[in-house]
Each structure stands twice: as C-alpha cells, then as structure tokens.
Amino acid sequence: MENFVSEPVLEISGVAYAYPDGHQALFGVDLHVHRGEKIALLGPNGAGKTTLVLHINGILLPGAGSVRITGMEVKTENLKQIRSKVGVVFQDPDDQLFMPTVRDDVAFGPNNMGITGEELDDRVNQALTAVGMQAFADRAPQHLSFGQRRRVAIATVLAMQPEILVLDEPSSNLDPAARREIAEILNELDITMLMVTHDLPYALELCQRSVILSAGTIVADRNTYDLLADEELIKQHRLELPFGFKLDPSLAKK
C-alpha cells in the first residue's frame, strides 16, 4: 500500500526514441519502479530493452516523454547526479572492467563522484564483500573466471551506492553454479532493482513483478508468476519457459 504514496525511484513516462539513422526503438514506454522493488524487464531480442536501459542513466535522451530518478529528470544538466543514482551493470563484464586491478576498477565509479581516501576504501571493501570477491581485490580482471568478472562488475556499480541497480542479462554465459551464486548475491542485496533478462526462471526466482517490453512498448506488467502462467501472452512475445520446466503453484502467492 505504501508504494502508492511514495515517490517512485524510477519513473518512465511516455518515452519514445528513434536512433539517428531513423530506426525507432521505443514507442511510448511507461514504467514505475518503487523503492525496494525488484522488477524483471522481459522481452525478445530487438524489443528495445537495451535502448530503454541506456535511457535510465541518460546515455540516450528520450525523443519524447521523460525519465525521472527519485523525482529528478534525466537531462544533460544533471547527468552527473543521475549517473551516481543509477548503477548499470552491462552484459559483458569485459566492457566494464578495464583497470589494472579489481580494486582500482571498483574505485573508479565512486572516485568519479569525488570520493577519496578512507571512505573510498570503505566503499570498495563493502562492495567487494557484498559480491564475495574481497579476496581478489588485487588481482587483474582478465585473470578471473567469467562468473567472478560478472561479480566484480556488479561490485563496481554497488560501490557507487546507487538508488537503483539496473542489470543487463545478469545470468547470461554463466555455468549453473555461477548463475546460482549471482542469484544469491542479488537476492541478498537490499536495493531497488531492474533486471533485463530472457531467463524466465531467473525472473521468477528474483523478481516479484515483471514487465514485457515488445516492439518498443510495455505490453504486460504484473506479478511474475501470473505473467509466466499466461502461456498465450508469453508465446506471443517470443518468450518461452525452458524445456521440462513446470511452474510450481506453491510459488504463486510470493
């Protein structure tokens, strides 16, 4: 109930966007995310998911409509604040990790926010502890396994203490154990989260609510279990539960 009175952490209203080459990716997207919610953004390839993510932290600015983070509109003048409020973890950790050591890389974001000295060290340690990577602080990112790199990539964003954590395909390219470990880490985090994924069981495990983005608009927005139970709907938008997977009705009221 409280959700209806509080100000949403993320408020996307009527966002439309066309790339400079004329290709239109978003056709009026509306989405509200409230504090503490964990939401899955589902949709087929090419639905505009990544484009939408790039709007949340102002890498792209909407052609129409607006994006607000805790009430602050995303626009050129306040990009600096926006980027410290929104933490985006990209799909390929190699895009994100480029410093010589894990520690340097985790420090990069908070450092950009002007944090130095002891506070910086604290943030780095906290973030690395949250993903269970503190023992690897002085290693070079390229010497870590893929799952470890993904965890460090999450830490690089957590160190900025964002209002909302946005994850692009957090379970992709992971072996089953690493996939589960990431799920445990994400489950533990006390943070507002928007997770872009095709991994429907993952959405069910981590997110109470899910939305489907298809052809540049939000076509469904409801409780994850109910959404996945609607076979007709998910099939229509090129989503499928994995072979042999049956929804467990005991999860329904979660």
Binding site: L54, I59, L79, R83, F90, F98, M113, T156
Partner: protein
C-alpha cells in the same frame, strides 16, 4: 593511382604551375566521382603533421635568405616546404579517392597482384575486417565508463583514457589469438586463400590510366615550355 602519385613525386620542385595542374586533375576526378566534400576534408586531417613540418621548414633551413612579409626565410626551405605541401596534398587526395571509390576487397586483391608480400596483404585484410569490431568495443567501454559517472574533460581524463586504451589493446591482442586458434582449428596452415577477382578489362585499364597519362602529358608540356 600509384603511377600518378609517383609521377607527381618525381616532378622537379620549382615548376609550381605543374603542381597546380596536378591538383586540378585530382579535383576533377573527385568531382566526377561525386565524393562528398565534407568527407574528403575530414579524411585530409591525416595530413596535418606534414603541413606543420612544411610550414616550419623555411624557418629552420640554411642557405640564401629571402624576405617574405618582413620575415627572413630560407629560400631552399621555402621551396622544399611548398613542394612537400603540394606533393603531400596530392598524395593524400589520391589515396582518399582510391579508398572511397574502390571496394576494400579489390584494393587488397590489387595489392596482391602487384606482388606486395602476402603477409602484408593479409595483415591489411585483417585490419579491415576487425576495425569495426574494435571500434564497437571501444564504444561499449566508453558507455560503461560514462555510466559510472565519468566525464571526459580535457587533460585530466588522459590517464583513464590511457588505461582504457591499454585494456583495449590487450583485448584486441587476445581476440587475435582466439581468431588465430579458430583459424587453426579449421585447418589454417599459414596461407590464406588468394583474393581472386576478375582481371581488369581493357576498358578498365584505359579508365585507370587516365590519371597517370594526363600527368605525363602535363609533365612533358612543362618540359617543353621551360
């Protein structure tokens, strides 16, 4: 194109109107090819270091001095500088014309038929193939940096850019190794299939020779007159 550039380079300095004629010829070709002028100008930026060098030459060379606009300039340096400027500009314009009118594959196969060592041609081919991949990787890394509140501002951002460049270099190198492994696993033994394309027809030869022939004509005329 190569012949044309060679002829231009071999033209003795001092015959300035010859060079002006060469310039006019290459401009005509660019006009006929309908290359967008902005693109041509943007690509000419590569010449800037040579221009700086050419401009400096008259100030630092020795020899008899002439007075230009109240400045004492070396005559030999002035000649060499202007010569460099002309030859450089014509050379760059020719390369731009070739690069924008001929598909990369054909340029490569042409190089190979001109007996350029295979290794060099292959390296050039890989560069062409992967330059987009690397540029795209660079772009994604930049977006990831910006997303963590980083703004590129002047000289203070250079250390970060240098580290990113280093990471990019290592990654490009590793990708090279992966590509090589993938090639080996498909039976690569150090020799690429040659880039076969149709041999040029007589008509293509004729069109191709217009530039060098017109340069020869200009050169001979210049000789006669002087």
């Amino acid at each position: 194109m190569l012949l044309f550039v060679l002829l231009v380079v071999l033209t003795p300095l001092g015959n300035w109107w010859l060079f002006i004629t060469y310039l006019l010829i290459i401009f005509t070709v660019i006009l006929i090819a309908k290359l967008p002028p902005l693109t041509v100008i943007r690509r000419m930026v590569i010449e800037v270091p040579f221009v700086i060098f050419a401009v400096l030459m008259p100030f630092f060379s020795a020899g008899p001095y002439v007075s230009v606009l109240g400045m004492q300039l070396s005559e030999a340096g002035l000649t060499a500088g202007i010569g460099l400027l002309f030859k450089g500009t014509i050379g760059v314009l020719s390369s731009i014309t070739l690069a924008s009118t001929t598909p990369m594959r054909e340029v490569l196969s042409g190089l190979s038929r001109l007996k350029v060592p295979n290794m060099l041609v292959e390296i050039a081919a890989f560069m062409v193939r992967y330059v987009d991949v690397v540029v795209d990787e660079m772009r994604r890394m930049r977006i990831a940096r910006q997303s963590r509140g980083y703004f590129e501002t002047g000289i203070r951002s250079w250390p970060v850019i240098a580290k990113a460049a280093g990471a990019l270099f290592i990654r490009a190198y590793e990708r090279g190794e992966r590509v090589h492994l993938a090639m080996l696993s498909r039976g690569y033994q150090g020799k690429m299939p040659s880039y076969q394309i149709a041999i040029a027809t007589n008509q293509q030869w004729l069109v191709g020779m217009i530039l060098p022939i017109s340069a020869v004509v200009v050169l001979i005329l210049g000789w006669r007159i002087s």
